[in-house]
């Protein structure tokens, strides 16, 4: 079979494009360090979250120098913390979210960012993000979870380090 020169060029370019796609995704995984959220977070009894060492009092915990753990329970139709009081984390820190659900499947999305996971009853979704400067983010549920799903939202506040430390010593975190 004789293939026209232009057609060879186009076939080569199309193959190059596929190689390019794979290369960029590989770069994302290796160079930029983008991770997938998997089941490493382990499981939890959704009926007895009040007996869990952390989910019994969900919120922000300091886990290391400039590293914080945030435990969030999603339930119909709020994030705890997040909805009635904002999640407060210090700027320029590494934050690991541990998200689970007390009832049905919810979503946990920090609006406008790639911090986004499903909140599954019985499963802890764990993911780590690097937080930049002070900013206020919205939180929302992006999995239909019931009649008031559209109203299920919250707030996450990235506050300056000194302000965070001041409030932490004052008792709130």
């Amino acid at each position: 079979m004789e293939i026209h020169a232009y057609e060879k060029f186009w076939l080569g370019a199309a193959l190059l494009l596929i190689v390019g796609f794979i290369a960029t995704v590989s770069y994302g995984a290796i160079g930029a360090g983008v991770e997938m959220i998997d089941d490493d977070g382990g499981t939890v009894d959704p009926q007895n979250l009040d007996q869990h060492p952390k989910f019994s009092d969900p919120g922000v915990y300091k886990s290391g120098p400039n590293e914080y753990d945030v435990y969030v329970i999603a339930k119909q139709f709020l994030f705890q913390p997040g909805t009635s009081e904002p999640i407060r984390v210090p700027a320029n820190s590494t934050v690991t979210f541990h998200v689970t659900s007390a009832d049905v499947i919810h979503g946990f999305e920090v609006v406008g960012t790639n911090a986004n996971t499903m909140a599954i009853p019985g499963q802890i979704s764990t993911f780590t993000v690097e937080v930049d400067g002070p900013q206020e983010y919205g939180l929302l549920c992006n999995e239909y979870c019931g009649s008031a799903h559209h109203a299920m939202e919250g707030t996450m506040k990235v506050v300056p380090e000194d302000e965070f430390n001041a409030s932490a010593t004052a008792g709130g975190a």
């Binding site: 026209h4 390019g20 983008v34 991770e35 406008g112 790639n114 911090a115 986004n116 780590t128 930049d132």
Partner: protein, 77 residues
């Protein structure tokens, strides 16, 4: 007077050589100019395809590096 003209009457006198089964607008069945395989040179198509290719590459780079990686707070662990 019939609405359907008789077929015999519609044969035009000024187009003498229409064979039976001729389709109006079809290409002549005689070869006018014979060229080799690679002499066929559709530069316009090549430019068009190259343009599409360029749009694909630019859109991919923008989508991945600007819209995705530039979106702040990416899951890293």
């Amino acid at each position: 007077m019939s609405l359907e003209p008789e077929t015999e009457n519609t044969i035009r006198e000024d187009v003498p050589d229409r064979p039976r089964g001729y389709v109006v607008g079809s290409a002549p069945d005689s070869i006018e100019r014979e060229i080799g395989h690679d002499d066929f040179d559709p530069v316009g198509t090549l430019v068009l395809i190259f343009g599409y290719f360029l749009i694909l590459v630019v859109m991919w780079v923008f989508m991945y590096f600007v819209e995705f990686l530039g979106r702040g707070m990416t899951v890293i662990g």
